[in-house]
């Protein structure tokens, strides 16, 4: 599904440049649930941004579902993001003047799906995350866990090939975190490929594979026995 070869990325900081990713080789199969771990500054967010086409790579190659991701202009990148990727952020990033349903429908709107279809589909995904009754509520009327579930519904609505989650539980207490992880696991059970950036070991252990990053290189890449979050809920 994801194929990364010899990935380098550095940032210019004034006169000196900061070499963040120093040759990453990494691939993800369909249906995997991967945790990317590492301390801050290890390059895990940069890696996720490159995977999410929010950032460009300096060297190396990136292939997503057989499509080489090269020479992206903004329009093309936006189109790929819309078709291939779903994003879940630490701070939820819901649009606060739109209702839960409108937020979920947003990626579908960018696909130019007709309004009626959009509403049906977004209701279906809200139902999947258990928030159908909250469809007409604004984000400000939802709790943190609910917001993140709306965000997951939004990420899934466009039926992406890969779901990218950047610290999805970072702003949540542990009980809500496990609820969210339970949801992510269920989505993974349906065969969706998911990548999670986290620095919490218990969250990482709920994935099927953990990739440890340190100082821009992969320190360790191991399959783990998945801990079901449902046990804690």
């Amino acid at each position: 599904m994801i194929e990364i070869k010899d990935l380098h990325k550095s940032y210019k900081m004034g006169s000196n440049s900061l070499h963040v990713l120093k040759g990453i080789n990494f691939s993800v199969e369909e249906g995997e649930l991967v945790a990317i771990m590492g301390s801050s500054g290890s390059g895990k967010s940069t890696l996720l941004n490159i995977l999410g086409m929010l950032d460009e790579l300096d060297e190396g190659s990136y292939t997503l579902d057989g499509v080489p991701i090269v020479n992206l202009n903004e329009t093309k990148a936006a189109n790929y993001r819309n078709k291939f990727l779903g994003f879940v952020f630490q701070s939820f990033n819901l649009i606060n003047y739109k209702t839960a349903m409108e937020n979920v429908a947003l990626p579908l709107y960018y696909q130019r799906m007709p309004r009626k279809q959009r509403e049906e589909k977004s209701l279906k995904y809200l139902d999947q995350v258990g928030l159908k009754e909250w469809a007409t509520h604004l984000p400000s009327e939802l709790s943190g866990g609910q917001k993140q579930r709306v965000a997951i519904a939004r990420a899934m609505a466009a039926e992406p090939k890969v779901l990218l989650a950047d610290e999805p539980t970072g702003a949540l207490d542990s009980k809500t975190s496990y609820e969210v992880m339970d949801l992510i696991q269920k989505i993974n059970d349906q065969g969706n490929t998911i990548l999670i950036v986290t620095h919490e070991p218990d969250i990482a252990n709920m994935c099927k594979r953990i990739v440890h990053l340190k100082d821009g290189i992969i320190l360790e890449d191991k399959k783990v026995k998945q801990v079901r979050a449902a046990a804690y809920v």
């Binding site: 903004e74 329009t75 189109n79 790929y80 960018y110 309004r115 939004r154």
Partner: protein
Amino acid sequence: MFSKDRWNEILQVLTTNWFRTVLTAFGVFWGILILIILLAAGKGLENGIRADFGDIATNTLFMWTRTATKAYKGLPKDRQFSYKTSDLADIWENVDGLKFVSPRNQLGNFRGSNNVIHGLKTGAFSVYGDYPEIIKQEPMDITSGRFINYGDINEKRKVAVIGIDVRNSLYEIGEECLGSYIKINNVNFMVIGTYKKSNVDGDSENAQKEIYIPFTSFSQAFNRGDDVGWMAITAVDEIPITDIKEQIFSIVKENHRIHPEDARAIGHFDLNEQFQRVVSLFGALELIAYFVGILVLLSGIIGVSNIMLIVVKERTKEIGIRRALGESPWSIKKQILMESIFLTIISGMAGIAFGAFIIYGINYLLDANGPVMMFVNPSVNLGVVTTALVILIVSGLLAGFIPANSAIKVRPIEALRTE
């Protein structure tokens, strides 16, 4: 472009901060209001002046003789001459584009000695020998009887059309004047009609103290032979008389052996030139109105642009989210532009509507309080409103352009990081 979602979004954004939106809109509202009122005021002035010209044929040249100032073909300078009726025929035949060529003779005026008698009353009036066409060049309302016609001209009838003030000073109240006789320089003329002139600038009193008699009768009764005192020449509407007057001058110069470069021999008054001067003044006024109005509008536009920049800044994160979800940069740009145009047009329309309301009020006051000197019916026509709308759309585009560009200049990853 006109999808419901986009409009919902525009309304959502603009109504989030009502007070700010209204304040911003006010700048554009004010600008377009001032533009409309200035244009209407200019139009009112123009209408006022045009009303003073009335339905006088403005494409008219008045031409009289003066003394020749150059010797020519054996004839001395300082020589007097007079137009002849044959000049008119020559002008009519040799110059294209003429509508009326009217010879005129004049006798006495209101300042002169008494020259008209009716019964026991006398008065001093201007007496004109004229052709029937003069009523089209110098319009007057026939209040009773009729005007001179070609029967009068051909048969040299001694008939007269008198002004309303002539009637009032020569006749008793209630006395029938039609069919009675007045004595002009001891020649009897039968009164066949009375007239009243409207729309004469500043001289309305004297304009009613005139007597019109057939040109031919005038010549015969007062021994003018085939002399013509002066002429009123009107060209067709498409050709300005100013362009063809030199042709006319050269014909009469040749007929009377005047040196071709003698500029003083022929006196003339070019009404068209004067009128065009006034018309160009209105053009200048309109230009000033647009200039001032658009400058005021510009500050409103800058206000809109400013607010849109702030809105974009505030929404940086949101824009980042949208781009992460796959909205194309062009779509975001379009959104900002449409918000800007929408805000500009709505506030502009409000300005136009309010301007129309004020103009209506002014017209109402003018109607209620009687006419004001040189100011009639201030108004803006559909053309001006259309122009204003085009200005608004263009300025909305301009106002949104910089903010829209700055909205997509931030990379989505940076936009997402902003708090």
